[in-house]
């Protein structure tokens, strides 16, 4: 784990270079669409992971912030002509404001109660937006105005620019996680996640820590919401507040490894790549295959490696490096 990160500088460089070059090497719009989805869900996973992974607050309601981000920027764009770049930040602020009362309510609850309460908050928001017919288009939703190639309005020709936008979002998310992981806040978070009562006993203000990380997590999730509706040119309550968003955010982190910097990315790559491959092999019309495989992977990971797949990668890396080092020195491994 440590090894993976401290020796990480080089690998992060390689990864960044590959990520930056990818749209130049691959011209298929289908493939780039898959890359965009992978990066987007990895980003949502990273945002979720701050809450769910480090502080172990199992939120199944992050769709609330995804949806608020999506609706804030869309309403600003269509009603007031505000650029989604500004709308995105406004959405983030709205999500942060919403996270305060939601947090105040839910943080008094633990474990399964917390999870169920967060599901309820996202559902309530979805139901409310279904009712706001005049203000937010109700159940029918609305399409984005097509402005052609308008980078200032977050609309681009072709898919590659969207790819770089979401890549930048993911990079920001990972950088924030990296900084938090190495700060006092990170240690407090892990302490609260391990044992909230013990953390409080040694003077950690658990409620404040959870509230602060929830603010950050909500803000980032809202950015993803804005990006997504700008990318698909459509918004309705079922898309914006989809329970699947909440679930995917948590799933990719669990499969990859919760409470780790790279876990959500590893999990998303595995799950999305598998589902994309299945989709291209089987074609459409086999509704259910993708998610069946998806859930089998999840069950396998939970039963065999509850700490997530990132452990397998780091173990393999350490194994290769140590085996190599050992051979070089010709020291028997058991000596």
């Amino acid at each position: 784990m440590q090894g993976f990160i401290s020796r990480g500088g080089f690998w992060v460089g390689v990864l960044t270079a590959v990520a930056l070059a990818l749209p130049l090497l691959v011209s298929s719009a289908f493939a780039i669409d898959i890359f965009i989805r992978i990066l987007l869900f990895a980003f949502i996973g990273v945002a979720w992971n701050l809450m769910g992974g480090y502080a172990k607050q199992l939120s199944l309601g992050h769709a609330a912030y995804f949806g608020l981000g999506a609706y804030t920027s869309t309403i600003l764009l269509i009603r007031y002509g505000v650029s989604p770049w500004i709308g995105m930040l406004a959405g983030g602020v709205v999500a942060m404001l919403a996270s305060l009362p939601i947090g105040a309510l839910c943080f008094r609850l633990r474990g399964p109660y917390f999870a169920i309460a967060t599901i309820a908050t996202a559902q309530v928001l979805m139901l409310l937006f279904l009712k706001f017919r005049d203000f937010a288009w109700g159940a029918e939703g609305t399409t984005m105005p097509n402005l052609g190639d308008a980078p200032l309005m977050m609309q681009f020709e072709g898919k590659a620019p969207y790819y770089y936008v979401v890549l930048a979002l993911l990079a920001i998310g990972l950088a924030i996680t990296y900084r938090i992981e190495r700060s006092w806040m990170g240690y407090y978070l892990v302490a609260v996640g391990e044992d909230e009562d013990a953390a409080e006993a040694i003077g950690v203000d658990a409620l404040r820590i959870k509230r602060n990380i929830y603010l950050i997590s909500a803000f980032l999730t809202a950015l993803a919401g804005t990006f997504y509706v700008q990318y698909i040119y459509f918004i309705d309550p079922n898309t914006a507040f989809s329970f699947n968003v909440s679930v995917e955010a948590a799933l990719v982190s669990i499969v990859g490894g919760i409470g780790t910097l790279w876990g959500p990315l590893v999990g998303t790559v595995l799950l999305e790549a598998t589902s994309a491959l299945l989709q291209s092999w089987l074609g459409g019309g086999h509704g259910g295959v993708q998610l069946t495989v998806y859930s089998l992977i999840l069950i396998g990971v939970i039963l065999c490696r509850p700490s997530g797949l990132i452990g397998i990668l780091t173990d393999a890396y350490d194994h290769v490096v140590h085996a190599g080092a050992a051979r070089a020195k010709e020291v028997p491994l058991d000596g």
Binding site: G52, I116, A120
Partner: protein, 289 residues
Amino acid sequence: MLTTIAQAVVNGLLIGGIYALVSIGVTLIFGVVKIVNFAQGEFVMIGMYISFFLAANFGIDPLLSLVISMPVLFVIGVLLQHFLLRRVLALGDMPQIFLTFAMSLLLVNVALLLFTANYRTVQTPYSETAIHFGTLFVPMAKLIAFAVAMVLSGLLWVFLHATDLGKAMRAAAQNRDVAMLMGINPDRVFCVAVGVALALAGAAGSLLMPFYPAYPLVGQVFVLMAFVAVVLGTLGNVTGALIASLMMGVAESLGIQFVGADSGLIVVFAMLLLTLALRPNGLFGGWSR
């Protein structure tokens, strides 16, 4: 006006009986095994499909197929506990919730593969009939479902209070370690608890079939209501879940009547959040003794 309210209350109580079967199952598993089963709704779905296929292929009335769906789901429950849930008991909330969640996802999608997303309905002689009490209108199929649900809940109560196995289950729920010291085999008790919970979900499925369509995602309707009821009734409290389910049914029905057809759930969720804000441990305290 009064009639409208009374009618809404009756409608709510009738569907609340079905919610009760689902939520009693959730709360039973949580009380005994300490796992929140996010897949409970999918077992309702399985119960519905069992009844549907028995009715479609052999002409068996859904109410009769109860005697098949319940044992089948009991066995599934025992296997589920023995092969899957048992392995995550020591792992904490997150793997447990996600294991049952993954099962829910798996069952929905396997159903989608096998049965397609089409709505399946069964017509019975009593599907369209209704009884009139003065101005009140009571659909026969829902009345039967409610009555059977209440009988099953009553039988469960008797089982938990009057049989050794039931008492062992309550003992294991109160304090697992002490129960083990008293010679209770927790594995066996856990298997039976999950089996019984799933049998209740199967019963709910069969009872729904005469008036509700079966489709792969049908369980989600019921599991959300069950969660709310279970939290309101205090996780692990069987009687609490029963009372809360009936309340939920009525609240939803009044919401539909007076706020709008799409607002039943808003009322229900608002109740949940309000309750959590005021009484974070639900309305009814701990495990029912």
